[in-house]
Amino acid sequence: MSELRELYQEVILEHSKKPRNYRALETANHKAEGYNPLCGDHFTIYVDLQDGAIKDIGFQGSGCAISKASASMMTQSLKGKTTAEAEELFTKFHDVVTGHAEGNEENLGKLAVFAGVSEFPLRVKCATLAWHALNAALKGEQEAVSSE
């Protein structure tokens, strides 16, 4: 039960019910879809990239609580960041949810709440789906990406 509570923390549940930046950006100049064929999670990430920095970011789609909360909190933590900073944060986030690094406020900020995912290997792809889509959007890939 405690592991389950670690996974479904209040913050995560709250974001999944009221996702932030949940909109299609009209100003987006980068966009990509993330799709998890196994469970049907499907998100579109919209980015307004100006001079190598994320000026605005939004997302839309459907998925489980983990994938939706992750997308929501990702958009919050990336506004104003450069693409290099975004990539660096994704690497840290990935290391934490896969259990390769300890997650704490220092290295992940608010995203540290996802540390509990590492106890549920099957849910790693839920937590990283939006990030994979973001990566594809920044690289300008048009095809839907999968976290499989």
Binding site: E3, L4, Y8, C39, G40, D41, A65, I66, F120
Partner: protein
């Protein structure tokens, strides 16, 4: 020294269906998951194996392992006899007219691909149509799409209603002189709907159109009588009927199989080979190229024997009671909606919860030791029809109990508690 063929499975006297006793036959059920007794409700994905199956495979490798249909030595003779006995058992189990109509394949998927690539390639041409239903598993969609793409043919799909039942009148309207084959599931893996396959066969045969039935979910749940059903092809998977993975059966009417080209070339499927001309072997060997999956075929034989011993009628009755009980209990939980409410239904309870994604349901149930499947169940068009990305699915087997249904219900309440 003995020349007697030892059969790995004994003949048991018929016995009353006693679920507690039956559970004792399945070693895997007796374990804890996350500290809770395992409640295995993912039987539509694969069933667990009784000791008789595990021991039959073990016995084969310990005592009889040899290649079949060629050796003159004792082990080869034993292996061949054990292998061919299963063909007779499968024939009897499905009530096919002739054992040469039983082809061993890897599973339902391979069976359908075999028919699409042999019968289909020979008989379907540009502008022709293949008719399936909106209930199909991907394995009864994609092989036909591949064929349509190659031949310039068209895949037509008969619609279903909001209960998940085939609209038979619409199905009949889609039958036309262009229709070259009909392919339908007997029992839907995503919703549990039992299709009116008898009617479907009658309608198609009235227009001389052959019918393939995907029996993967039906074979372990109801008595299948192929001579009464009169379909032209029927496909089953061993692992969904308490047998091993990697083995299944394609039934085909001899008349059709005789006229079909082989699926794969190789050893065992030939009568003679020269570089100028190869003469194919007779049925069923024409369709069994290469050394087959002998051990798992023998495992399948033990599974069939096990099902015969319990009796499909008893199993059907037990699962029907369980499904009715589970449906009553689950639909009474606030915020839960059952997807697939066909009048004729078996084995499967698919459901969604408002605001809670099936994937989260699956994780929380697993923490209670309850194994269900979440996702699209390899039937994405079914999910699209109901405008949902996925469902949580409890699917029952002969060893499930009312207490396990109660555990599921408690688990669903837990989901609500955790997700708020």
């Amino acid at each position: 020294m003995s020349t007697v063929v030892k059969t790995p499975h004994q003949v048991y006297p018929a016995r009353e269906f006693d679920v507690e006793r039956v559970r004792g036959d399945f070693p895997v059920l007796h374990q804890k998951v996350h500290g809770k007794p395992l409640v295995y409700l993912d039987n539509a994905a694969t069933t667990q194996k009784p000791l008789a199956v595990i021991e039959a495979i073990d016995h084969y490798y310990r005592h009889d392992n040899s290649n079949i249909h060629r050796g003159v030595h004792t082990l080869s003779e034993r292996a061949t006899e054990a292998y061919e006995k299963v063909r007779l058992a499968a024939q009897k189990f499905l009530n096919a007219a002739d054992s040469k109509e039983i082809i061993f394949v890897r599973g339902t998927t391979e069976a359908i691909n075999l028919v699409a690539q042999t019968y289909g390639r020979k008989n379907v041409g540009s502008g022709d149509e293949i008719l399936i239903t909106a209930l199909e598993h991907h394995s009864n969609i994609v092989p036909w799409q591949l064929l349509c793409e190659e031949k310039g043919a068209k895949l037509r799909v008969a619609p279903i209603n909001d209960r998940g039942e085939l609209l038979l009148e619409e199905f009949e309207k889609l039958l036309s002189p262009k229709t070259k084959i009909v392919a339908v599931g007997h029992l839907s893996n995503a919703l549990g709907t039992i299709n009116p396959v008898g009617e479907i066969v009658r309608m198609a045969h009235a227009r001389n159109i052959p019918v393939l039935v995907d029996g993967a979910q039906a074979a372990p749940r109801m008595k299948v009588d192929l001579q009464a059903l009169d379909c032209d092809f029927y496909a089953v998977s061993g692992h969904k009927m308490y047998g091993p993975t990697g083995i299944g059966v394609l039934y085909g009417k001899a008349r059709l199989l005789e006229a079909m080209p082989p699926y794969q070339g190789g050893g065992d499927m030939i009568a003679s080979v020269t570089f100028e001309k190869t003469v194919y072997n007779r049925l069923p060997y024409k369709f069994e190229a290469g050394t087959p999956n002998i051990a798992d075929t023998i495992g399948l034989g033990a599974a069939i024997e096990y099902l015969n011993e319990l009796g499909l009628d008893e199993i059907e009755k037990h699962e029907a009671e369980l499904l009715a009980y589970a449906t009553r209990k689950v639909e009474a939980i606030p915020g839960v909606r059952i997807v697939g409410t066909a009048k004729e239904k078996a084995g499967v309870l698919s459901f969604v919860m408002e605001d809670i994604h099936p994937h989260d349901i699956g994780t929380i149930l697993d923490s209670e030791g309850i194994a269900v499947r979440t996702g699209h169940h390899c039937a994405q068009p079914v999910m699209q029809r109901f405008n949902i990305p996925a469902t949580a699915r409890a699917s029952f087997g002969l060893y499930n109990t009312r207490e396990e249904v109660d555990a599921l219900v408690a688990g669903i309440h837990k989901v609500r508690e955790v997700m708020g």
